[in-house]
């Protein structure tokens, strides 16, 4: 028996070695050439981007046609900038603000979702309303306006918003008759911060939206929708009416905040339709080192409707050129009037 085992040992080693080489787990390689990088970009999006089905339904996007359309512009001797231009044009076909290609010299982007619309926001007017004595916590600027309306300007969710921050803010604003949460020009950040802030407007756990993810490379391989439960904040919670101000530059996590807040009682949205960006972005990279960002996990509102194209306000209000001339933010003033009623 021992002799047999001795004889089997080299065979065993040979089998294991052969198995190593036959069972290597590797990814398809694309060359670091214009063609290789282009194909890598197209395939990465083809297999990972989450809104193909929705974009096809909305405006007839055909990703295979896009491939053929832009592949003809490739030449082996093209420069990096020329290749970047072709790639940038290709990803613009997705019409998604979360899809970016980043090189050392440029960022390919699609910003039509706010550039083609009125801004409905003015930095100068914001400064006028906030003054200089506003308070600041976790990136949120807040004060009490003259008519006893609380005003919070949240320009980003990049910072982590903790219960201590929220308790401090809502303790200060507790005496107010109503509250304005201004998320105009908020381009997103941490979803958890958006959830924390929205949690101050509900006294019970509610389904504020839904989330999914891709389960495979196929365009329609999307998981079932899982509810996003909004838990009530543990500390101070707002019990009076509140208005969330949005514009087309309310994007990504801020768009999610608007979605969550709308599911809360006593909260309405006012201003312009939000910018969307309801696909949590992931990162990948091309063989030449360019970084790719793309939507990977779609989010839906509490009615299971996609929030990718933005959320319509309950009360649509726009700013006009006259408002800017007279130094009046029409959206804030309309919200104040609504809360004073």
């Amino acid at each position: 028996m021992m002799k047999r085992a001795t004889n089997l040992l080299p065979i065993l080693i040979a089998c294991l070695t052969a198995a190593i080489f036959s069972r290597c787990v590797t990814e398809d390689d694309f060359d670091n050439t214009p063609s290789g990088n282009f194909e890598a970009l197209w395939h990465l999006l083809d297999e990972h981007y989450c809104f193909f089905q929705e974009k096809a339904d909305t405006y007839g996007l055909d990703w295979n046609t896009v491939h053929e359309k832009y592949r003809q512009f490739l030449t082996p001797s093209m420069t990096g900038e020329q290749l970047f231009e072709v790639c940038a044009r290709m990803i613009r076909e997705l019409r998604d603000g979360h899809v970016n290609l980043t090189s050392s010299f440029n960022v390919a982007r699609y910003w039509d979702w706010f550039e083609q619309y009125p801004s409905n926001f003015s930095d100068s007017l914001l400064r006028k309303y906030l003054g200089t004595s506003y308070m600041l916590s976790a990136g949120m600027k807040y004060r009490i306006l003259e008519d006893n309306i609380g005003y919070i300007y949240c320009g980003s969710f990049d910072q982590n918003i903790g219960s201590g921050n929220l308790n401090a803010i809502f303790t200060k604003l507790a005496i107010c008759d109503g509250l304005i949460i201004d998320v105009r020009n908020n381009d997103g950040g941490l979803l958890s911060s958006a959830q924390s802030l929205a949690g101050c407007f509900t006294n019970q756990e509610i389904t504020a939206g839904y989330m999914a993810h891709k389960t495979g490379p196929a365009h329609n391989a999307i998981s079932s929708l899982k509810p996003v439960k909004l838990k009530p904040a543990e500390g101070m919670r707002w019990q009076k009416r509140a208005v969330v101000l949005t514009n087309r530059s309310t994007f990504s996590a801020a768009n999610a905040f608007a979605m969550y807040a709308r599911a809360c009682p006593k909260v309405i949205l006012m201003g312009a339709k939000s910018g969307g960006g309801a696909g949590m972005p992931f990162h990948a990279e091309l063989p030449n080192g360019w970084s790719l960002r793309f939507s990977a996990c779609p989010m839906y509102d509490s009615n299971k409707q996609s929030a990718e194209e933005g959320i319509e306000p309950d009360i649509a209000v726009n700013m006009t050129a006259e408002d800017l001339i007279v130094g009046r933010d029409n959206i804030i003033e309309t919200a104040r009037a609504y809360l004073r009623q």
Binding site: M2, L12, L16, V25, N32, A40, T215, E285, C297
Partner: protein, 290 residues
């Protein structure tokens, strides 16, 4: 064992001697030097502890983080405890190996970095054969637990990947003792091959926010087998005497791979190891009172 047959007394004595020699040879194979004092004792009381440190090459792929292979350097420590057990007439060797590594890898264009680390804890029980006085063969079952991470410095919502796995498989070893320049050396090869197991994995583009903040689980514990998670750990080592000590030189090839939930990953390590081996014998307290 012969059943229904009377064994002559002389043959029985020879068998006992052969068995004793085999056990001692196994102990010698496991514990290359410094065991002469224990030859007359219980071989299961012999212990071998090896501590190794290594540096090597690391190749990392995790398509959850990037489609590109990252390569770099790893440092590794390994602690191995070995002893004979009383199982199957003192013929089963038990080995407990705890090893950890941390690797720093760069993308092909050096635009991004990935830091990965893992702790592997394996237990093996190997039946041993003694084909000749200098050669010892062992084979048996093994179980392992693996806990680690990979962190990409460039990514946003998919910056890291957790590596959690348990598995069960086979472990085999061969050690060969030889003399050179009047000194005793032991060459040893060991391979651990997990056959089945389970591992954690996000489901394709599922975010960690969904899993841990929202509690949305979706096939995150995946059963694994040889054909979609081919893993193998191999080590070739040479124990050599240096003064009163035993030094171990080794080459470790650690292949960990998986292809679950449409996500591919591999960690290929090739490390040169250096360390020392410590042998000692436990002393059983004499329970008989004088």
């Amino acid at each position: 064992m012969h059943i229904g047959k009377t064994i002559p007394h002389s043959e029985f004595r020879i068998m006992r001697v052969v068995r004793t020699v085999s056990v001692v040879c196994l102990a010698i194979a496991l514990i290359p030097v410094g065991t002469r004092a224990q030859e007359a004792g219980d071989p299961t009381l012999l212990r071998s502890h090896a501590s190794l440190f290594g540096v090597g090459y690391h190749n990392l792929l995790d398509t959850y983080l990037s489609p590109l292979e990252y390569t770099g350097t790893e440092v590794r420590i390994l602690r191995e405890h070995a002893r004979l057990t009383h199982l199957m007439n003192d013929r089963v060797a038990y080995q407990n190996t705890l090893q950890g590594h941390i690797a720093y890898c760069k993308s092909p264009t050096d635009d991004a970095k990935t830091i990965s680390g893992m702790v592997d804890w394996t237990f093996a029980w190997r039946y041993q054969w003694q084909p000749s006085e200098s050669l010892t063969l062992q084979a048996g079952p093994a179980i392992g637990t693996h806990l680690g991470f990979a962190y990409n410095t460039r990514n946003g919502n998919n910056p890291a990947q957790a590596r959690i796995a348990v598995d069960a498989g086979l472990s085999a070893a061969a050690s060969y003792r030889f003399q050179c320049l009047g000194k005793s050396f032991t060459a040893r090869y060991q391979a651990d091959l997990p056959l089945v197991g389970a591992m954690f994995s996000p489901n394709y583009t599922q975010s960690y926010y969904e899993i841990f903040s929202l509690g949305n689980y979706d096939h995150n514990i995946c059963a694994t087998h040889l054909f979609q998670a081919f893993n193998i750990s191999q080590m070739l080592s040479l124990d050599m005497p240096l003064g009163n000590h035993t030094i171990r030189l080794g080459y470790l090839c650690n292949i960990r791979q998986s292809h679950v939930n449409h996500l591919k990953s591999h960690d290929w390590s090739h490390a040169f190891m250096l360390g020392y081996v410590k042998q000692f014998q436990l002393i059983k307290p004499n329970r008989k009172q004088p």
